[in-house]
Amino acid sequence: MRNARIRFAAFLAAVVAAAAGILYAQYDRGYYAPENLGSIRQSAPPTNSDSAVYAVEAYPLYAPELAPGEGREVVQAYCSTCHSTRYITMQPPLARETWEAEVNKMVKTFGQPIPEDVQPIIIKYLQAHYTPASRKK
């Protein structure tokens, strides 16, 4: 009797272990990794009054990292008068002549007063870092 009980208990344990083993092979669980894609902080609710003024806080800036290289400071200075330099980094890689045309458009069409000797520096910088040949990521 006692032997039979032990044998039965051993059998039960084996079944449970086997079931656990099978389950183990069927699922994976409990994976966490310290790597993440970052998080965004929530904004606090605004404090408003019942006046006729409808306001929001300052719009956030997200300055991009421009490629390091000769002319970067000039580009930073002249190309961010009217818009953020994200207008540069957002673009797909553009042909050399397209960048030249873009800078010319800013000067001639949109009236940005970029001195004549500075324009080629800006064009060269954009061509050096933001064409299909020069931009890979």
């Binding site: 965004i40 006729a52 818009h83």
Partner: protein, 432 residues
């Protein structure tokens, strides 16, 4: 490395536990151990750069960013703000205000508006120049509402090949809202537009740092007074039954049903009846499309200077698969509902078709509730993939004018009018 180690230890434990007792217990061996690709991995960020090939993703590839009165949206540019609506917000016919995309042209956009000082002015070739307060608009006019899609002219620009400069939108530079306000026609009548007026020009509160009387200083758009759309246009003070978010044009914006969003001026403050054709940059140079079927041309024709252009106007018929979006594997024989939206600037979408074989064969989808000819129309299609494998789902809309979404790409230098059939690849796994 970290994962490798965890996996191998885990696999070893599983194998030991199983192997050690299976024989004694007489348990059946599981048919298949999970292979390495099926094990959980850490999330990878979307590449931030997709050129020079077409952007393969549904949305633009920028990070999500937090803005006032907004849910996190996909950031294109920060100054001026250009933000795209993530795909899942298109599961419903109406796009929530907090998720509605944002696109400004000039960097000085309003952070606040004082309605005790703000007035909408109607001037130019009118007998009675008038100024209306927000309260006047509410009290003196019969309100009118329209459900209408607002879509950026450059929506989907990142799909063009070769790529073109401009905002690199995915498909999320669009939204649908119930707009409520005053009919533009009622306002023009209140000011008594005089004979001889050709067009109505609109200007909002945004301003740029460029020289005066230049496109970099003022954003100005105009509509021909003979255009029938004038009778449908609304000056909206409410969007989905709420005030407009500042980023979407508080206190009022022009709503031009069926037309691309470039005419839907935000923070609308001046309406001018013009006697001369509008020759400002945003009409004469910007936002123009080739005067060809579908607005299509080639880089060669552009270079040769052969392309005659006209101002962009109505939106061609489009449709989108919103779900499934490829983020989850489907299971063979498990029915799923393919869902999406469709619209056309030429009138109601009255037919939707779905293909599960990349566009070889098509079946009719069911249309959702009709909110009017200029609204998103939801649609759904019951589908049960019979076999495991890779499927290319495709959706095709037809509008009341008989326009069918084409399967050919379109190219023009502005990156406008993209409306080809969209596809969604889904992977179906085995059920046993």
């Amino acid at each position: 490395m970290y994962q490798e180690r965890v996996m191998s230890r885990r696999r070893m434990l599983g194998t030991l536990a199983f192997g050690g007792v299976a024989a004694a217990a007489g348990a059946a061996a599981p048919k298949r151990l999970p292979n390495r690709e099926q094990l959980p991995r850490q999330a990878h960020a979307l590449p931030a750069f997709t050129g020079p090939s077409p952007n393969p993703y549904w949305n633009s590839v920028g990070p999500l960013a937090e803005y006032p009165q907004k849910a996190p949206l996909v950031l294109l540019t920060d100054r001026p703000a250009q933000l795209e609506t993530p795909r899942h917000y298109f599961e419903t016919a109406f796009t929530p205000n907090r998720a509605f995309y944002v696109r400004w042209h000039l960097d000085e956009i309003p952070n606040s508006v004082d309605l005790s000082a703000w007035r909408l002015g109607i001037e130019g070739r009118v007998a009675r120049p008038v100024r209306f307060s927000f309260d006047d608009l509410l009290k003196q006019f019969q309100p009118a509402s329209v459900a209408a899609v607002n879509q950026c002219s450059g929506n989907s620009r990142s799909k063009l090949q070769p790529r073109v400069p401009g905002g690199q939108w995915g498909h999320g530079a669009m939204g649908n809202a119930l707009w409520t306000g005053v009919r533009l026609r009622d306002l023009l009548e209140a000011a008594k537009v005089q004979p001889g007026a050709l067009a109505v020009q609109v200007q909002g509160l945004d301003q740029g740092k460029g020289p005066e009387r230049n496109g970099s200083h003022d954003f100005l758009k105009s509509l021909d007074l003979k255009d029938s759309v004038i009778d449908e246009a609304i000056v909206a003070y409410a969007m989905n039954g709420e005030p407009l978010p500042l980023l979407n044009g508080f206190p009022i914006r022009l709503v031009v049903p069926g037309y691309f969003a470039t005419y839907w001026v935000k923070g609308l403050t001046w309406i001018r009846a013009l006697e001369q054709p509008d020759d400002n940059f945003w009409m004469k140079t910007g936002y123009r499309i080739p005067d060809t079927p579908r607005g299509a041309t080639t880089p060669e024709e552009v270079k040769a200077g052969k392309v005659k252009t006209v101002p962009i106007n109505r939106m061609p018929v489009r449709s989108f698969i919103v779900a499934p979006d490829g983020s989850s594997k489907l299971v063979a024989k498990l029915p799923v509902t393919v869902r999406g939206i469709a619209f056309s600037g030429y009138g109601a979408v009255n037919k939707m078709e779905v293909s599960a074989d990349g566009g070889k064969t098509w079946s009719a989808a069911e249309l959702g509730e009709d909110h009017g000819p200029y609204s998103f129309r939801t649609w759904s299609f019951a589908w049960a993939p019979a076999e495991p494998g890779r499927y290319a789902l495709a959706a095709r809309a037809t509008d009341a004018k008989g326009n069918v979404q084409p399967d050919e790409a379109v190219w023009n230098p502005g990156g406008y009018l993209w409306n080809r059939i969209e596809r969604q690849e889904v992977i179906v796994g085995r059920g046993e």
